[in-house]
């Protein structure tokens, strides 16, 4: 109980500080435009009225937290799920390509890791390129993948999922290589004295030892997948998804919508990472790990 309050109090204080700072920033940034509007309308509002109107502009430079919260609430709960303005609809579109790409990426990453651990030639030739592939700003080719695949009539979920795959396979591959190699010489020797075959060493020692590594990298990978899916939606002409919502809101300077889309993306990210964390707890508990 004590540890909980020890955590909640500082985090809560900081979050409240951030919200207050946000309000101050909103007033500060929106004030010039509001003053201009008042001058044109020939009104001289009192301080409180002035503050109220800076925080309730239709297209403010910095929307106030309550405006964003209201927008998120309206577009999440009060609209039909099938509506084009519903955040649930856009989040679902992004989520589907994220999950598809994440699944591909995890499978690919695990396969690559198994190959690297077992084939010396792959280890020496592929590993440097896997690392090099991540120094490439790969999101930059997202528009090309989308447009080129659209040219051969592959549209919809798959191109976006491919970008997510590319972003998510790396953490999984690196983490799994580390995990599969984590059993030390003692354990390998023990398997040797049991006269275990290579496949037995793999399934009974290396795979169980790599599980914590797999989940740690899956947490990173799923966040990367989401970023890939969002960026993948930008060049499709803003049809559907959180990225598309961001782009169309930025075209029309709909700042509140823009922030709402960002909040929606963040909520999805937290849910996904939380789910992976939950799965990791359940699996590790089932495997007999000590709860930490």
């Amino acid at each position: 109980m004590n540890s909980v309050t020890e955590k909640i109090v500082p985090v809560g204080t900081l979050l409240i500080g951030i919200v207050i700072g946000w309000y101050v920033l909103a007033v500060f940034m929106n004030a010039p435009f509001q003053r201009d509007m008042d001058r044109r309308a020939n009104v001289a509002p009192g301080t409180i009225e002035f503050l109220q109107s800076t925080l309730s502009q239709a297209k403010p430079i910095v929307p106030a937290p309550h405006q964003v919260a209201q927008n998120v609430f309206e577009n999440t709960f009060l609209r039909k799920v099938t509506s084009n303005r519903s955040l649930v609809y856009h989040a679902a579109v992004t989520l589907s390509s994220t999950l598809l790409g994440f699944t591909f990426g995890t499978i690919l990453g695990v396969l690559i890791a198994v190959g690297i651990v077992h084939v010396a030639a792959l280890d020496r030739s592929l590993m440097p390129w896997i690392i090099a592939s991540q120094t490439i700003p790969i999101l930059a080719i997202a528009p090309m993948i989308i447009v080129v695949l659209a040219a051969i009539n592959i549209t919809g979920l798959l191109p976006k999922a491919l970008i997510s795959t590319y972003l998510s396979f790396f953490p999984v591959a690196v983490g799994m290589v580390k995990g599969l190699r984590s059993p030390d010489l003692m354990l390998l020797d023990l398997m040797h004295t049991y006269n275990a075959s290579p496949s037995q060493v793999f399934w009974k020692l290396r795979v169980p030892a790599s599980v914590p590594f797999l989940f740690a990298s899956m947490k990173v990978a799923i966040a990367a997948s989401l970023v890939g899916a969002i960026v993948g939606e930008l060049p499709t002409g803003a049809v559907a998804g959180i990225g598309a919502k961001l782009l169309s809101a930025s075209y029309f300077s709909n700042t509140i919508d823009m922030w709402a889309a960002l909040v929606a993306g963040s909520i999805v990210a937290m849910l996904l990472v939380g789910l992976v964390g939950l799965a990791s707890n359940i699996v590790e508990h089932a495997m007999g790990a000590r709860p930490t």
């Binding site: 030639a121 390129w129 080129v148 969002i230």
Partner: protein, 373 residues
Amino acid sequence: MSIQSLSWQSWVVLLLALIAMLTLPFTIDSAGFSAAQTALVLALLIGAAIGDGLRLPVVSKAVLFFLAAHIAAWLLIAGIAGQEGSGRASFFCAIAAAWLLAWRCVSLLSSVRSRSRLTGALLRILIPTIFGAWILILWEAVVRGAGVPFILLPPPAAVGQRLMNSLPVLGADVRQTILKSVLIGYAIGCGAGFVTAILADRVAFLRKGLLPIGNMVSALPIIGVAPIMVMWFGFDWPSKAAVVVVMTFFPMLVNTVAGLAAASHMERDLMRTYASGYWQTLWKLRLPAAAPFIFNALKINSTLALIGAIVAEFFGTPVVGMGFRISTEVGRMNIDMVWAEIAVAAVAGSVFYGVIALIERATTFWHPSIRGG
């Protein structure tokens, strides 16, 4: 010379060469390859595969495979040039066989255990280089042999030519995106993260509050702030630098705070017995101990910074910059220009990363992770 059994790669090479021989010619109208060229390619493939059975030193065998694979591949690509799309099954079998020879060469080289450090380093460079070169060779051969439309996937040679022809444009893009947005944003973001981490380390309350928030934020799609920054700071490079600042701040913060906790109690107690103050302890013990963590953040951020700057340019930019070029040239179907830009971005990203890795090696030479490797 005695005989030893062939590796599986050599058997497959023989099989593929046989299929290639039975399904000759390489191309539909057989204009690209003279009989002598065709015979030479097949002779190289079969000769190298049979040579695998001789008991030669590993290195000379590797050289044999290296030469055979690359001469064969070069002959095949040179022959197909000018008549794209006319490759037949025979052509692809021959290319696949050449690739397997290169694979055999790589696996021979990886089995070399050399005692001298120089050869070790040379091998560490050579093996991935062969692998990378073969990606390009296969790409070139398949695109030309199968006649993949230029709009889908231009061959690497065309990309290279385009790159050479448009150096001024690419140079201007690099100056705009990398020298202005990325470097400035990176310096500000990493610096701010570092200073905040020191502050958070001083004030325990701040640390307890900031760390969970920082961990949470690093999982969020921060790239989404790009349109907001473009709105606040305008189309030119400051908005891109701002995105980079936001993206690089939290990894730096979280890693530095973790690094500052790395020095053990024993060492800190030792510093106390020396009567050193907070700043002396920080400067002489805790920052050096945190260096590996800080460099880790710097490395992560080098990639993030490039991604941030390029993606932010998709949301609006003056008519120069790598992200701008990529998105407009995609629209104009100049895919070779896009690939040239990607190649430049890849080189820039790798150089950026490499420079930081070199600085790390130079400054944290004492750390076990560097010393041991």
